[in-house]
């Protein structure tokens, strides 16, 4: 087993500010201006600035910071759904996201069809998903509704099924964005226990949360982001304390 699983080397991520995005009309009318590269720095918004980060196998990394600090951008970079503008991102293992649960489901497909598609999107083969189907259904407690189109589901049922699929893909790197509460009280406890078990058994985890207590209790290292830059990094207790002071 290798020592580290995620490595970010001087990573920048910039977005073109929407107000400057040229429309089709504009690009035709002002073609000469469209061709000119807009390299002026004030046209861009930097979501991450020169971030270097290495995550070791089995580590539980907590990320804290205000809204818009770049936490979600960082998660997306690790997940591979966005590419860095500059720098290099290496992820050595399969990443399982627990973010925006259920957004990959299509309301007109049945629960079962969605589970298969979601499982394959999360990195399993169809054969493997079908093998795990009984236990996915069992964990979500949805056997009654599994062959019904998902548009008839309640939002809680959506989340249950989504969590159950993600949990059953044998995550090797788990990315969590504030989802430690799914469904009703019973299921909340069940999903929390499942996540805790994964973290405690050494699944590499990246956890973004505003719940400082949860971060402090679970994480072995904490990263504090602000405006796309690392403010501090290291021991959870110290960093959470100085973060609290700053926020107060």
């Amino acid at each position: 087993m290798s020592e580290w699983v995620v490595d970010l080397n001087h990573v920048w991520k910039k977005y073109l500010l929407l107000r400057d995005r040229p429309g089709f009309k504009e690009s035709f009318v002002n073609f000469h201006r469209f061709l000119k590269k807009r390299e002026g720095e004030d046209h861009y918004f930097y979501a991450l600035k020169d971030l270097t980060l290495n995550i070791k196998t089995g580590e539980c990394l907590g990320i804290i910071g205000k809204n818009g600090a770049g936490k979600s951008t960082l998660l997306s970079l690790m997940l591979g759904t966005i590419l860095p503008s500059r720098g290099r991102v290496i992820v050595k293992d399969r990443v399982t996201p627990l973010l925006e649960l259920g957004s990959g489901f299509h309301p007109d497909l049945t629960g079962r069809e969605n589970v298969v598609l979601n499982g394959v999107l999360l990195g399993l083969t169809k054969e493997d998903v079908l093998k795990k189907m009984p236990s996915i259904i069992d964990f979500s407690e949805m056997e009654e509704f599994i062959d019904v189109p998902m548009r008839t589901y309640s939002s809680g049922m959506y989340l249950r099924l989504a969590f159950s699929v993600a949990f059953h893909t044998d995550p090797s790197i788990l990315i969590i964005d504030e989802v430690l509460s799914v469904g009703d009280e019973g299921f909340q406890r069940k999903s929390k226990e499942a996540i805790l078990k994964l973290i405690k058994t050494g699944t590499t985890t990246v956890l973004v949360s505003h719940n400082l207590q949860a971060i402090g209790g679970l994480c072995t290292r904490v990263l504090w982001l602000d405006h796309g830059e690392v403010v501090a990094e290291g021991d959870p207790k110290e960093i959470i304390e100085s973060y609290r002071k700053k926020m107060a």
Binding site: L16, G23, S76, L79, V95, E100, L109, L117, L122
Partner: protein, 259 residues
Amino acid sequence: MIRVPYHLRREIDLLWLLTQKEITLQYKRTSLGILWSLLNPLLLAFVFYIAFVVILKIPKRDFPLFFLSALFPWTWFSTSVSASCVSLIANKSLIKKFPFPKHFLITAGVLSQAVHFLVSLPVITFLVYYYGKTAHGVWLLGIPILLFIQFVMTIGVCIAISVITVYFVDFQFIVAFLLNILFWVSPIIYHLETIPEPYRLLSLYFNPMTSLMSSWRELFLSNRIYWNWIFIAFLSSCIVFLVGYLIFRRLNTRLDEVI
């Protein structure tokens, strides 16, 4: 038995599932389902028969067969292209949440339209026999070859268009307009022979649809494969694919910033 690597098996599964999803969603909530893919072309053939043979009484008796033998493959191309305009935007939630090759969405769209096209082939066969012709073994060679060439060409066009429309939403209206023009400058409703001489060669060499559509028609109507047309179609499909792929690759890197 050869062991296919896990990630490859998974990618094949994913492509197939996305294709399946496209097909099921198209006819979801209908009672006849995929049968509509057969019924639609059949009804279309019936309408053409009434319009051109019964009412207009055009001298070309087998006109419905003549037209549909090129129209069905054209429909595969044109519906794929129009669908590709929105396929990335429509699947935004998948793109933002799961890391998988984005061109799978486009490929799945083209594949699902290919299934509809294949389902319409019995209608052509029926018309062939109706007009006193026969199907021939050469179809078994010609159909896969033409399917492959058209698949490559359609993918090339679709992947380019799909990313361009993310940057310029207006582009989809231009695409609709261009498709309309392409339909009328290609020998679909008329025969290649009816194009006056200097333009005929021009059309054959510079419009990839000309050789492709003419090849489909000759295959169904006279059971012949014109290898020189096939060669032209193959060559142009490779060029179209290459250009489309380069555009896609160029625009794909910054796609996540604008979608």
